[in-house]
Homo-oligomer: 600 residues x 2
Amino acid sequence: MAEEAFSQRTTTCGGLTKADAGKKVVLNGWVHRDRNHGALHFINLRDRYGITQVVVDDDASKELQETAAKLRMEFCIAVTGVVRLRPDTMVNLDMATGEVEVKAESIEILSKCLPLPFMIDGEAEPNEDLRLKYRFLDLRTQGMQERIKLRHEFIKAIREYFYRTDFYEIETPTLIKSTPEGARDFLVPSRFYPGKFFALPQSPQLYKQILMVGGFDKYFQIARCYRDEDARGDRQLEFTQLDMEMSFVKRDDVLELMEEMFNEVFMKVQNVQLPAHFRRITYHDSMNTYGNDKPDLRFGLEIHDLNDLATKSSFDMFKTTVENKGFVKGLCAPKTEGTNFSRKVIDALQDTAKIYGAKGLAWAKVGADNKLSGGVSKFFVGMEEELINEFDAKEGDLILMIAQEDWKKCCTSMGAVRSKLGKDLDLIKEGYEFCWIIDFPLFEFNEDENHWEAAHHMFSMPQAQYLDTLESDPGSVKGDLYDLVLNGYECASGSIRIHDVELQKKIFRICNIDDATAQEKFGFLLDAFKFGPPPHGGIAPGIDRMVMIMAQQTSIKEVIAFPKNTAACSPMDDSPSFVEQDQLEELHLKAIFPEKKSDK
Amino acid sequence: MAEEAFSQRTTTCGGLTKADAGKKVVLNGWVHRDRNHGALHFINLRDRYGITQVVVDDDASKELQETAAKLRMEFCIAVTGVVRLRPDTMVNLDMATGEVEVKAESIEILSKCLPLPFMIDGEAEPNEDLRLKYRFLDLRTQGMQERIKLRHEFIKAIREYFYRTDFYEIETPTLIKSTPEGARDFLVPSRFYPGKFFALPQSPQLYKQILMVGGFDKYFQIARCYRDEDARGDRQLEFTQLDMEMSFVKRDDVLELMEEMFNEVFMKVQNVQLPAHFRRITYHDSMNTYGNDKPDLRFGLEIHDLNDLATKSSFDMFKTTVENKGFVKGLCAPKTEGTNFSRKVIDALQDTAKIYGAKGLAWAKVGADNKLSGGVSKFFVGMEEELINEFDAKEGDLILMIAQEDWKKCCTSMGAVRSKLGKDLDLIKEGYEFCWIIDFPLFEFNEDENHWEAAHHMFSMPQAQYLDTLESDPGSVKGDLYDLVLNGYECASGSIRIHDVELQKKIFRICNIDDATAQEKFGFLLDAFKFGPPPHGGIAPGIDRMVMIMAQQTSIKEVIAFPKNTAACSPMDDSPSFVEQDQLEELHLKAIFPEKKSDK
């Protein structure tokens, strides 16, 4: 059987060393760079494995010289030639193959390349839509090559851990019943059943719980999930999570397994030794100390409770806040090299605090000899040392304080200031700082809809001591919930689940879902709970975000081969797109265009 | 932090042996069986790992006895007790744990179970919809436990092979552009763009080709795929395939890699040694010899070409067929124990042949001393020995022949008879018979639409010797196509792909897709081919079907945790289902019900 003939590689562009000198080889790859030095023609040939220098010598045949002259950037070629040592002056120890080159004997052009819309090894990063439209070129860049490899290795290491520890990877369905809670479901119209729809899963939550009822005990899956959310921040319509669940476990079993797993994975993938156990911080303490529930522990700047000091001060606003059961909190921004706590800097911090609900941001500069100056320092006359000692503050530091009657607002606005200072003062250390946030409230009150709703999701177990006061005092109930936080990002959310049908119904009712609606939406889970469900719990780390952090990126698009853009479109294949009318008719659907018919 | 208290297992129900006698253990699991022998109460406790016998002795506390009395099938319980040897007469060597039992000291009921809709270890298999509605119970059966484990181990072994051989697993998007070819796409309405839709992928085909253009070289993915096909046979709306693609390869590279991979996987998972290389049969030979392109090689019954013999016979119908450039083919059904080639049996074979387009099925019985009798034997007078020698037939065998002017019909109708005989005569040996079918035609003529279309898909490379006659004689063009067949099932389909934009456009045009339409639908692939695409090829084995074969099942539903039923519904979660009106409004859609409004 004949095939289109071309010379197939005998090795890759990443592997040749001095030991190969004299060998005849074939390389396949792309023209990465291409330059003439007098009669010599140098080609940097690139593939997934590396770059090898190919030389067309001045003694090359006319045919070879002519072919070489035709080469342009990113032509795909096959080179047959002999490996030889580079002259000493040409050795490049920065390249794995930098001690050798291949003297070309023949070059075949496997395919040509139009002029590039952007350079593959360019310094200047093209704009995002150009990168996404030409993703096939963008994927050739060193950055994308490394990140896709990292993603592969991260998921591989996760799988190897779960393989070894006797978990089964079980595929759950992705055409499921629509039970929208929280985010919107993507719907998939049914052709057989007019007016009926499947939904794409927001997570395999209910199915993994059913697997526990089905006796599968230790389950995991690298699962594609879908949320039809408004485009904001760094979101994708589809994303990937490590979904896992275990039967007969308590909270600490899940936490310890995750710690062991990430220890193994980070060692394998990044050669980084994580602590055997991650810090555990209660939701309450995290809010109090870091001003949010996903603290970045790569820097300190802890928030202090200043109610006592505030009461003793002469600042009426502070005193009144405390009298009204409110909170005064503060932190101390350290003077670092180049720091200048100018009015402008302080104004910017105040703006940040106000976005998160603070009425103001009080400040005082620490001077020599336990002096305070500026801002609210006059209200702390006689108490300077006490305030300075509270923070162990040094000359040049800036003490910042917020008074707020609402605890959460006080925490979050102080937390926003902390986060900004961490970045602005360059306080963030390199490395990975994991922690667990535990003891979350189970419910939060939805002011708009005037009822309680699940803070996490409705399948999480309340902690045992709150079982009697679930209905009388939902706001105080803590759940068997846990989040894994890495470098200030929430990376995983999990819980011990409810497995009691009556308790589950009670939770539904508290969340304003009556029994009939619960049965209609979640009947299969409630039914399953009637047939000997085991105690179970799990967690679901987000793959995209964790790889993003490991790759030191700030957008998950950088670690996804074919992401959508911020407008939720794919510039490459131009999806979403209009479809044939008969496709819609078969699905029993009619598109209703808004009054002003969109061109998009 | 308090959690609901229960005694957590210290070991599983599958692991206790004589060596554990005297140890205090906790087991968690389900009451598999439960029986009283006088004052003794025996509980077979089951988990994913096995079954352990628990005994409540007659000296048990009143509390323990009362708890034990409350137990029913499939209650989920925790048992604390001491391992002891069973009395010699009670040892059960069929059970891994059959030499020991656990003397219960306490039993906690973790959850109760309603009366079961069917028995977990029942002999009688409940009907399919009942099994799917109560899938959480069906999953507890030994069969489902074993098959889901097998599926996990099969996919795990595949991944381990690709991990070791330096492939990257790369996730391709599942919200893509709709480019329906062949099967229908599932559509996903866009909320942001009225009237626009994403499609769910029928396969990652175009994206994996783009990954090759992107330089990723060796890619694989265990990929979820979707086809909105009419419910027929053993199909699912969503299915899983091993998708793989390599750059710089020729056909045999792909075939040999697959052979090596399946050798490793079948050894790991089933301890079966496959041949290092699988037989390669051309499409033409497979049709001629087995009557289809997915031959079951677990039995012989090869089809013979009888044109020469037919010409020499006195059977006008045979002679005319050959004169008209037609075909006469036959096979010899062996007499096996209990075989009776009665009129009724022959009639049934004739019916089978006719379904596949044969006008009739001629037959003759082989008697003693090279005699033929019955059927068309009178037309072979004087040629008996020649006909019998053709098949090396024995006394009692039945020779069956079909004459047809259409080659394909002649082959397939004879092939249908062959398949039926293989089953009916119990000729099928145990084991795995892989083969490659190669040299497929690239195009087939669509009579309904009166144009050529791709036999496989439009991205497959024509074999080089046909490049000049592509347009003048599409019907004779063979492609660089290959199917992997296992035990009569097509398990994988693959090809070397086109990577030349002009050739790709030519193929589109032959398939009646003009340049403008091609650009509209497949522009991103055509664009990618303008930027130095590498030669590449791949294959995509179907996971569901292969696991089904390994599990000796005849339906893929048996190897999928949560399949849809034959009506494309999930009886468990009752999907597809109606959704809220505001969900549709947000998607700019209106459901159009057929005139007689369906209740479903």
